[in-house]
């Protein structure tokens, strides 16, 4: 890699002159600037990013800690984060906690040594279940800003970008009740232990309560037996006329199982799930989804964090990103 020193030597001028010339300082003559720029171009000089970072004590890098990236929600959030970061000349260092508390702790610890200016994170499943968040407070105490999205820790004061989990499921359930006159609505879930899962279930329950209908939650543990459990439930409860899934998997499976058991979708059973871009493509009939604006969540998180980084005394903010009910063909 070419350095200022090399350029200076070749041109027989000082390093500081070269530096100023490249930064188009008014102190430098047009002629010298031209000579410097020409050689820099020729040797493909690029200022060393690490040296700049050391000098300015700013990395223009954001640490992004995700529980997983195989879940399309987090993948799409990452997409938004990357896009907005790039637009603002920030790099992102990505760590995956794999839903593990320990790996989450390690990642935060490891990047809290000047590697990043701030963090964007969604809390690992294990951290939420064990209600452990000291490691996150530690980072914030050390004056590195943290922004949490989607899965947040209420007790920690920091910027947050969250989804309208309660309201979106309430609305979807109400839709099934009022517009479709459904009476036996099942909720299926495999994320009931997450903060977002709890909120979504409550939204469903409140909607049924308000309509004086009975609720029923099918908590699906191991992902292996989801098909079987839904199938058995539908056999046992033939009156079921609608299903709400609060994740991006079990809704599609519910459609498949309803068809398998001989029900017509949506005539006999309506299905609404959570989902993203490609979810609807994979079911027949197309599933109706509560579409989380995952990309937007990513971009807004970056914007908010950068605001925080740029302003001296920044007021903490919590942004709620509304979801959108996208009807497919699995509802009437």
């Amino acid at each position: 890699m070419t350095t200022l020193k090399e350029l200076a030597k070749l041109l027989n001028i000082s390093v500081s002159t070269v530096s100023k010339a490249l930064n188009d300082s008014h102190e430098i003559s047009a002629n010298t600037k031209r000579r410097v720029l020409e050689l820099a171009e020729k040797l493909n000089y690029k200022p060393n990013r690490i040296a700049q970072q050391l000098k300015t004590n700013k990395t223009r890098t954001i640490g992004v800690i995700l529980p997983t990236v195989t879940n399309p929600f987090f993948a799409e959030v990452l997409h938004g984060v990357e896009t907005c970061a790039t637009d603002n000349d920030y790099d992102i260092i990505v760590c995956l906690s794999d839903e593990s508390l320990e790996k989450e702790e390690r990642s935060l610890e490891l990047l809290s040594n000047g590697s990043v200016d701030g963090f964007i994170m969604a809390v690992a499943r294990e951290s939420q279940v064990k209600e452990h968040s000291q490691h996150i407070s530690d980072v914030i105490d050390s004056k590195i800003p943290v922004l949490m999205f989607d899965r947040v820790v209420n007790e920690i004061l920091c910027d947050k970008v969250i989804v309208d989990d309660f309201q979106s499921v309430y609305d979807a359930t109400e839709y099934l009740i009022k517009k479709e006159n459904r009476k036996h609505i099942l909720l299926v879930s495999n994320i009931e232990e997450l903060s977002v899962g709890k909120l979504r279930i409550r939204g469903y329950q409140k909607a049924l309560e308000d309509a004086k209908l009975q609720s029923d939650v099918l908590k699906l543990g191991n992902v292996e037996h989801v098909e079987e459990e839904i199938f058995k439930y539908l056999q046992k409860h033939p009156k079921t006329d609608a299903i709400v899934s609060i994740d991006h998997i079990t809704g599609i499976i519910a459609i498949n199982m309803a068809k398998k058991i001989g029900k017509k979708v949506p005539q006999d059973i309506s299905v609404i799930g959570f989902g993203y871009e490609h979810t609807q493509l994979l079911s027949s009939p197309k599933i109706s989804i509560i579409h989380q604006k995952a990309f937007d969540i990513g971009t807004m998180s970056v914007k908010l964090l950068i605001d925080h980084l740029n302003s001296e005394d920044h007021e903490l903010e919590t942004i709620v990103v509304p979801s959108e009910l996208k009807l497919g063909e699995s509802t009437k």
Copy 2:
């Protein structure tokens, strides 16, 4: 952030003594070491990563450039990359080209300023279609190692980790012919313009050729009309008794359409697609998949690149990661 200088001042000793003490140098007395370590612990001292990088001229950071991360294949590769990088004390900076040549160029350019020790990348769709790869050669010429995986440029000499695209599809097709006695096998695809797509199609064609059967390739352009096009094809070609999909979407859709048209899967029509962890979960009956070891591709890429970084004159290598045919219920 606490620095060596601060520790030195507080302890009334020199910076270098502190540095050596923290690095457990034999030159330093046990007593001094203890005092230094205690204070460092107390003030939560962490060596500044940026300064270390400048000093050693190594970043221990890998630039990872992916076409997209919403495709589960790349998401899972990223998972493998992150895991292996972390295990080896490397960070990863992630850039998404969004399948765009221009963004790919920009990302490489931007990180070629000392930000990373090397790159792991899969080429953007546009770069492959336009056969443009000068920007990649430039990086390699500037002595930054590049490793390409999955979608590679044959003309560029660098480390590569690829999939047995031709062979895996040949084998799957042969399976349908020999074990299941299928005679009218359709191939569906929406990635025919990619290097990997071409190889997979050739594998299919060769298998049919060897069996003296006729081949038929349904190239699906716009993702919107995939359902419709497969449906129409099946109506027009009722003899179709097997379908091979070379991506992770159209196979599931093919199953849905086969069922919709009244065919039984797998009795009337067998379906084999590409896929990963959750793909099989989303279809009923479970789709048979050619399982690319995406996670392994990620880990092997990191290992190979790190080897390259650590050895002075490293011999370029190409690793082929074999796929695995995982039968679901969509074949007999």
